[in-house]
């Protein structure tokens, strides 16, 4: 019988040989303890390498890497989705135009609030992503779930809601920005409160230049950006802090 060389023995250990060659090595191993030990060593090394590098799979992916891959704004080809989006945008824009014609600011603020409330109510009808409680808007349904569970460092490309920044606000609560992409796209800021995720800001989101939603706050609508600026204290969470905050129930 031909002696078994190192390469063949290794190929056997890695399951690379065909059935006939495998059978030949099986037979040889049965009465050659030295060969059998070499096979065990070869397999043990593979196992040890996996033990050394597999933990990388469970590490949170740094946000700057996953942010580069955030899904593009889906083209609005669905007629049903297009119509209300245009309607909502038109309503919002005309309210703003009316507001700018007026010289008194409170009127502008009221007009904007009415438009925003109308939008929120429309949104609410659609899928119950927003609920009202004591005159305050709270996240509901899929939005509440995304805010509770979603990690910017582990984005789900199939989810319609993308989480952006998370940070500790100056009142001590944890706030998170989000973008809801599939309907009239909305962006907002939600802060964790005893009653759930209170919506501090909600605005129509435009598809950013380049067609990609960035996690950077710069792509947020001005109203949401302003709400972030008014609240943020220190730095936004990194991946580790974000995960720790989630594990701590956002308190």
């Amino acid at each position: 019988m031909k002696p078994i060389d190192d390469d063949t023995l290794q190929a056997y250990a890695d399951g690379e040989l065909d059935a006939a060659a495998t059978a030949r090595i099986d037979a040889a191993l049965a009465h050659d303890e030295i060969l059998a030990r070499r096979v065990r060593q070869a397999r043990a090394l593979r196992t040890q390498l996996q033990a050394a590098f597999d933990p990388v799979l469970d590490e949170p992916v740094p946000a700057h890497l996953s942010a580069r891959l955030l899904p593009a704004f889906p083209p609005a080809t669905d007629a049903a989705a297009v119509r209300p989006m245009h309607a909502a945008r038109r309503g919002f824009a005309s309210a703003r135009q009316r507001a700018t014609r007026r010289w008194w600011l409170p009127g502008a603020a009221i007009a904007a609030s009415v438009a925003l409330l109308a939008m929120a109510l429309w949104w609410k009808q659609d899928d119950e992503l927003v609920r009202m409680h004591d005159g305050q808007r709270f996240a509901a349904g899929a939005l509440a779930q995304a805010l509770d569970q979603g990690l910017a460092s582990r984005p789900n490309p199939h989810a319609s809601i993308t989480i952006g920044l998370s940070f500790r606000s100056n009142d001590g609560s944890i706030c998170r920005t989000f973008v809801e992409r599939t309907r009239p796209a909305m962006a907002g800021l939600a802060c964790h409160a005893s009653g759930g995720w209170s919506l501090a800001a909600l605005d129509a989101a435009e598809k950013p230049e380049g067609g990609q939603w960035q996690q950077a706050a710069s792509s947020m609508p001005a109203a949401v950006q302003a709400a972030v600026d008014a609240r943020i204290k220190g730095q936004a969470f990194d991946a580790r802090q974000e995960r720790a905050a989630r594990d701590g129930g956002w308190r």
Binding site: D14, E16, L49, L65, A72
Partner: protein, 162 residues
């Protein structure tokens, strides 16, 4: 769905494996993530070249391997990012006490690039010899022999080659 969208979503799914591969290649976590960044940029720039009938992971891994080789060339040997082949062989032959205390990830960084990449692709990422050969554009026999020599070196480092 347009191809670049498919590639982008595929890359997002592949990120953990890509980080594992680059960690095995580059050693240091920060170097590895820098490498991932380069790989993502290249893959997105070339998304149109990816054919949907080709496995995205192999395509991306090939980009990663080439990007790593480019990095090695750019940084040069002066930074001692990897030991030259001769040094690797010497370390294996004269496995001294300090070498035995090296853990496997550190031992990987002492392998010459030709060896390190086959270990990373086959033993860490689980590619078959023929898949690795295709990716590296070398014959299967070359993958086999490099892998056997790399194993001998690593086992010597681990002090198991008794």
């Amino acid at each position: 769905m347009d191809p670049s969208q498919t590639v982008r979503e595929g890359l997002l799914q592949l990120l953990p494996r890509l980080r594992r591969l680059t960690r095995a290649l580059a050693g240091q976590a920060t170097d590895a993530d820098d490498l991932v960044q380069i790989v993502l940029e290249r893959a997105l720039a070339r998304a149109a070249q990816w054919r949907p009938d080709a496995a995205l992971d192999k395509w991306v891994f090939a980009i990663a391997r080439n990007a790593w080789r480019d990095e090695l060339r750019t940084r040069g040997r002066s930074q001692n990012l990897f030991a030259p082949e001769e040094a690797g062989a010497t370390a294996a032959d004269g496995a001294s006490a300090p070498a035995q205390t090296l853990d496997l990830a550190t031992a990987m960084t002492t392998l010459p690039p030709d060896h390190r990449e086959v270990v990373a692709l086959v033993l860490v990422e689980g590619l078959s010899y023929s898949e690795a050969a295709m990716l590296l554009k070398v014959p299967v026999g070359t993958v086999t022999s490099r892998l056997a020599r790399a194993r001998a070196t690593l086992q010597a480092h681990l002090g198991k080659d008794t």
